[in-house]
């Protein structure tokens, strides 16, 4: 393609990406390196139905003057990134000096909000992604070998968890898991422990969140694999059958190699999606047991006093995290591309 036609060809999408991806990210970056002005506090006397009290309030006139002088706020550089709510550099250094061993160090590291969130986020990502891929593949192969007449309904039913809004799907599961819900009660009977409660135990809660994650995203892997299965070369399959390959051998040596590029695609999408795990934590009310980076952003913004810079810094750290996570896959794809 000529350079000129290439330019005109990609121009519309470049403009869209610039407007809707690049500029918003730039604005988040800007937001994260500026914070609010130092607040001018004055003592005031407040009265209301419950009497009068001497308390403090923000001096609006003084603040307005500060805002006028520096409309973006106070420049703090990477200050917010390094504070206790995020990378907590000085706290981590102190823990490293004080902790007796590596175990004690990690134990106390997980007490810091960012590391607590990243621990769950990474565990979730690396457990849910492979399980989703395996389960999606198994369902796809199973549906593909079902009789044609029932395939339509089967596909629809298999896709249901993906169609249901995540918030609703996880709420349904949440109430079923309640100590008085159908799954919760069944687990109590099976384990012969009347006090067993999924919501009260951190390991069970983590497990439940991951089970939910696999349940929700396996249909995505399924439908992509199912589409891929339709393109498997039938001649090769028949040749393998003539050579006496068993069903497993056909899958292992013909189908799986054929679907490998698709697997890379699913892995990419799932890594990104799972790293941003959020909805199940909210609907499971799981914040006492598990937090994620996305949940931390939400928490910063939903308090009575919104912490915009903190949320922006966590957002940017999430972008960096996704980039690191995807780098091996992207490097591989690039190599494959340049080799050809």
């Amino acid at each position: 393609m000529k350079h000129k036609s290439f330019f005109w060809f990609v121009l519309p999408s470049s403009i869209a990406m610039l407007l809707f991806i690049f500029f918003p990210i730039l604005s988040v970056l800007l937001q994260s390196v500026f914070t609010e002005h130092e607040q001018v506090i004055k003592e005031v006397r407040n009265c209301g139905p419950f009497g009068c009290q001497t308390t403090t309030s923000i001096d609006q006139e003084a603040t307005a003057a500060l805002r006028e002088a520096e409309p973006l706020g106070r420049f703090v550089g990477l200050g917010v990134y390094f504070d206790r709510g995020h990378l907590a550099l000085s706290e981590v250094a102190q823990l490293w000096r004080e902790s007796a061993g590596l175990g004690a160090f990690f134990d106390r590291l997980l007490n810091l909000p960012f590391y607590k969130a990243i621990a769950f986020t990474l565990t979730y990502t690396f457990v849910v992604t492979p399980l989703t891929i395996v389960l999606g593949f198994v369902i796809a192969v199973a549906v593909n070998s079902a009789a044609r007449a029932i395939r339509g309904p089967l596909i629809f039913v298999s896709l249901l968890p993906f169609i249901i809004t995540p918030l609703v799907g996880s709420l349904v599961l949440f109430w079923m898991l309640d100590a008085r819900g159908i799954i919760g009660s069944a687990m109590q009977v099976l384990a012969d422990d009347p006090d067993l409660s999924v919501k009260a135990s951190t390991p069970l809660m983590w497990t439940m969140l991951m089970v939910y994650g696999v349940w929700h995203s396996a249909p995505f892997a399924f439908i992509v694999y199912y589409a891929g299965l339709q393109t498997v070369n039938q001649d090769t399959l028949e040749a393998a059958m003539v050579d006496g390959a068993s069903r497993w051998e056909r899958i292992r040596y013909v189908v799986i190699p054929h679907l490998l590029p698709i697997t890379t695609f699913i892995a990419l999408i799932q890594l990104m999606d799972n790293f941003r795990v959020f909805e199940p934590i909210v609907s499971f009310s799981a914040q006492a047991h598990a937090t994620s980076l996305s949940w931390a952003i939400y928490n910063d913004l939903s308090g009575e006093t919104r912490q915009l810079s903190s949320a922006a810094a966590t957002s940017f750290l999430t972008i960096i995290g996704v980039a690191i996570l995807l780098s091996p896959v992207i490097v591989r794809t690039y190599r494959d591309f340049t080799r050809k």
């Binding site: 005031v44 006397r45 009290q53 309030s57 409660s197 919501k199 009260a200 006093t305 919104r306």
Partner: protein, 412 residues
């Protein structure tokens, strides 16, 4: 907490005042409300909209998520919302962002009948008009207490004793309830209990937090002792889930909002044995203190800053009318503890009235309290689950608050 104040409140609540109405209908201007969604606020919003006459605009957006949209909706010029209905914690965000206007000139012109009790004065300027009071108080099951032969508890220590007896006698496995969901609810329980222990949140007059002390430790220990008699899922139970547990008959004693107690005593949602025996009592004290382990709240309305004088006048008149004695009738009377002349308390409101009489502290109206509330909500659960000591939890809370306060410019 002065004697004067509580008697003043009690007398206003009891005496029927002279009803003077604002000028209704309003003939020009715009009213656009944003606020929380519960029966009392719905009644106020409906009456305010009725007051807007022909040729005016009137709308109301009542939602549980009002706090997430009111600052943004009032920041523009002209502001989308001409008024936000808020409580003593959420007015702080509006004041911090400077989006509401002082009401003194409007009061002089249109609101001379508004009693001083309803005026929320900050630094000499009236910033909001309160119309109802709220507090968390004890709710108990009379039949269960009778069965174990115990009087209505007045302290948290007595609650623990009663809970042990109920469990021992096999009446209920988890006899205590409470909105202990990690986050805002759990933080609110800490605030209640800490004030009950006579604690101070900050070093006097500064935003420097100071909760890692004896009162803080005792507060956490009491919360944990109570949680041991609760449904094991307590860290996921907000006010709604706790009310559901109550209506299911699983709970005999709990600390619950006055505005939510009426629902527990009606015939819907529970067996007669539960709702007939559901009674409301004054808030509890703790550790031998006299100040209840609870906080007082008011709900009130404000007027946006970035709107025309005409719209501000219309909004003020409509809302002044909607929170005047014209509001009170058979239907609305029991919806809340109104701060309006002519209000006659119903039995369900006894708890909140007792809370005002007992000198319960109002929830702190400080520009940085929201940050501490968030830090509390994020860090208490670790202690309750036995992952760390009380001192460690308190120092985590202080550190989390300090980082947030530095970012917001309250601390250096």
């Amino acid at each position: 907490m002065s004697f004067m104040k509580t008697t003043a409140l009690a007398s206003v609540l009891a005496v029927t005042g002279t009803a003077v109405l604002a000028d209704c209908p309003v003939t020009e201007g715009r009213l656009s409300l944003v606020g929380n969604e519960f029966p009392a606020i719905q009644s106020v919003a409906a009456l305010a909209q009725e007051c807007m006459g022909e040729g005016t605009e009137a709308s109301a957006n009542l939602t549980a998520d009002h706090q997430k949209i009111n600052v943004a909706g009032m920041s523009g010029n002209p502001a989308e919302y001409t008024s936000a209905i808020i409580a003593n914690s959420s007015i702080v965000a509006l004041i911090n962002e400077d989006v509401i206007r002082p009401l003194d000139d409007l009061i002089a012109e249109y609101g001379q009948d508004i009693p001083d009790l309803q005026k929320i004065t900050i630094d000499g300027q009236v910033m909001a008009i309160a119309f109802m009071a709220n507090a968390q108080t004890l709710v108990y099951r009379a039949d269960v207490l009778e069965q174990i032969g115990v009087d209505v508890p007045e302290t948290y220590e007595e609650v623990l004793e009663a809970a042990e007896m109920i469990r021992e006698q096999g009446i209920m496995e988890n006899p205590l309830g409470g909105a202990y969901a990690a986050g805002w609810n759990l933080a609110e329980e800490f605030v209640n209990m800490y004030l009950g222990h006579g604690g101070q949140f900050y070093e006097a007059g500064t935003p420097q937090v100071a909760i890692n002390n004896e009162a803080g430790v005792k507060t956490l220990e009491m919360l944990k002792a109570l949680s041991e008699y609760m449904n094991p899922d307590y860290l996921t139970h907000d006010s709604n889930a706790t009310s559901a547990e109550w209506e299911a008959g699983n709970v005999a004693l709990m600390n619950m909002w006055g505005s939510r107690s009426g629902v527990l005593m009606d015939e819907e949602g529970s067996e007669p044995q539960v709702y007939e025996n559901t009674k409301v009592a004054p808030p509890l004290t703790v550790d031998g203190g006299d100040i209840p382990a609870s906080t007082l709240w008011w709900d009130g309305w404000t007027v946006a800053k970035n709107i025309s004088d005409e719209d501000a006048a219309a909004t003020f008149q409509a809302l002044a009318h909607a929170t005047s004695p014209a509001l009170l009738n058979d239907k609305t009377m029991g919806e809340a503890v109104w701060l309006i002349d002519g209000y006659e308390p119903a039995p369900v409101n006894e708890g909140v009235l007792a809370a005002t009489r007992m000198g319960t502290q109002p929830y702190p109206m400080l520009p940085y309290q929201g940050l501490l509330h968030t830090a509390l909500g994020d860090n208490i659960a670790d202690y309750l689950q036995g992952n760390e000591t009380a001192e460690q939890a308190l120092s985590d809370i202080e550190a989390a608050y300090t980082a947030a306060a530095q970012e917001k410019g309250f601390l250096n």
